[in-house]
């Protein structure tokens, strides 16, 4: 009918898209991919099932984008830190702890990192996501090595280990019942671990 789509309409559409992504994110965070059925996502976004397919061609592509958005957000923050001021040591600690704090608040991102994908398409996206996060730490490692703060080492392996280390420590701390560590202690402990791991001289 209307030849030109009104601006209002376009905003509406953008809103819907955003709402779907948000709903999907929330559902995955709550109970994993298993809980995030298409119907549930659509309903939580205030839309019908059919409407969702107007914005995303399939469930897989929706979740690829969910993951992508989460990671883009994360990478943006971590990238800012990595490109900021201070020594590589300081920036590495800041990055690790920044990630850790956000993950502890809403653990969906960390969860998404290790959750088994429902689909090969999502799996591919997951690899890319991890790589992107890893790249931030690779840069920091390079900086530190260049400045002489860290000894020479494989930055590829190091970055992967860092991502794995904090992911694991955040999602499934060993000994979950005994001695419940406070959030501050946990974040700091992870930071210490990673700094020592890359050979930085850390506290004492």
């Amino acid at each position: 009918m209307a030849y030109k789509r009104s601006t209002l309409m376009q905003e509406r559409l953008a809103d819907n898209r955003e709402r779907i992504l948000k709903a999907a994110r929330a559902l995955v965070a709550e109970g994993g991919f298993r809980q995030a059925s298409v119907t549930a996502v659509a309903h939580n976004a205030g839309l019908s099932t059919g409407a969702l397919y107007r914005y995303f061609p399939s469930k897989a592509e929706l979740f690829v984008e969910v993951l992508g958005a989460a990671v883009a957000h994360e990478v943006a923050i971590l990238g800012d830190i990595a490109r900021g001021d201070g020594s590589a040591t300081q920036r590495l600690r800041a990055a690790v702890e920044s990630f850790a704090r956000r993950a502890l608040q809403g653990p969906y991102l960390a969860y998404a990192f290790i959750a088994e994908p429902a689909d090969p398409e999502v799996e591919a996206a997951r690899l890319i996501a991890r790589a992107q996060i890893g790249d931030v730490f690779k840069k920091l490692l390079k900086d530190g090595i260049a400045s002489g703060e860290f000894p020479k080492q494989s930055v590829d392996i190091g970055a992967a280990c860092i991502v794995g280390a904090f992911t694991e420590a955040l999602v499934r701390p060993v000994a979950p019942t005994a001695k419940r560590v406070t959030e501050d202690k946990l974040v700091e402990g992870i930071g210490d671990f990673c700094l020592r791991a890359v050979g930085a001289r850390v506290g004492g």
Copy 2:
């Protein structure tokens, strides 16, 4: 009276159980729990669906056992190393590298560690599995701190980080296409990372 069960028959039965476990393991390693349907497992084991239920009461219990067996094997080996001779530093490196080498040969175990479980029962088993692996490293950390090899630190967090670090590095190395690191380099790199991470004095 009752026909004596032939030795052949007994072997057959034991074989079937083993074949089921093997098939399940292989399918999970290949494509995750999603790919490992009961029908697929049974078929790959050369049995009918119903026959599988003679050996395992449910899909969940089958996979709990798959995981349990893998971890028991792993813990046994790592435990031997941890209780062996040499400094904590040496034993820690040996444990990490031993795990890493096996994981690179047949990556299913590492995969099982991070795969999203299909079932709460399996999830519980997974947590226990990670904790058991973690405990080995906790012991090594304690040893090293006691001997003065490692600085004082949280052994809970450290153990979790170590497990996470090598799991991640093994399963999804950052930058998987470019500069394919040799296996030796990767294993050594992970070892270095972990030793530095705990504060050991590592070569150079």
Copy 3:
């Protein structure tokens, strides 16, 4: 905005629910719970298997409702009769014969009363159903005893016996082939039996 759901659509939905109940009822009446598989019910209702689950969360709940609806209908009618005018004797006969006539028309209800349930949930509903029917007769027995029409007796046992007596007589008349009794004779015979059973003075 949202398309207004047409009246036609709403009728369609209500129809579907009704059709499912009807199909379930018919299948149970024909061949018991065994014959009433979810697939068969859905198919007889002109729907797919999955569609049925939009209207009923499980097979058990569907059959609980089938039973419940039948009994609610029955209890309403019998209750009206029991609370009506006339002596307890008259009302008891009217209630028994009313039930009997309906049961002979569509024997599913009587069948449902004695069918072995496929599920504990349904079994529970069945007990409640029988109790509800029994309660109507308990009230009538009490009335009759109070008015002196019936001798003193256990109203619990009496009510159970009455329900059992007409259920049996309706569903499986002894000697089903020989001397096929007319419906009128059967209904009257059951009425006579029950009245005598409670000690009422019955014609001749």
Copy 4:
């Protein structure tokens, strides 16, 4: 091999047959047809699944015989009572109460009477069984009418009602929680009900 089957062997076979029937009966009594799987019956009889099929060609035929045996036993006892001394009134009460007492001891028989069959073949047997029990009461009704103890009435309907009445009262008494009637009271109450129902002059 052996041309003539030894007597011992024949006894053995007869024993097995009997044991199977007994096991089947016990399982049905415990938890209905649902619980009585072929494997369970065979196991409880101390035999293998396959061996059972040497004695019964199918599950259905096994349960037809289980029912038949139970009823034959019942009919024999009730027949003795019915053909015994005393007035029809006395014999009817004795028969009803005798049945009731046995049913209360081991309720499997009463259960089998109303349980939904797993199979049309068993259903047919069930009808025959009920008819056979009914026939005993038909004879008693005829006796009583002939002797002038009972008024003229349909013996077919009356017999069916009696069977239904005590079956129901025994298996599912209305109001099962409140006022738990003693066994004696229940048996007597059922007897009273049935005697009054046929028009006998009963106590007071």
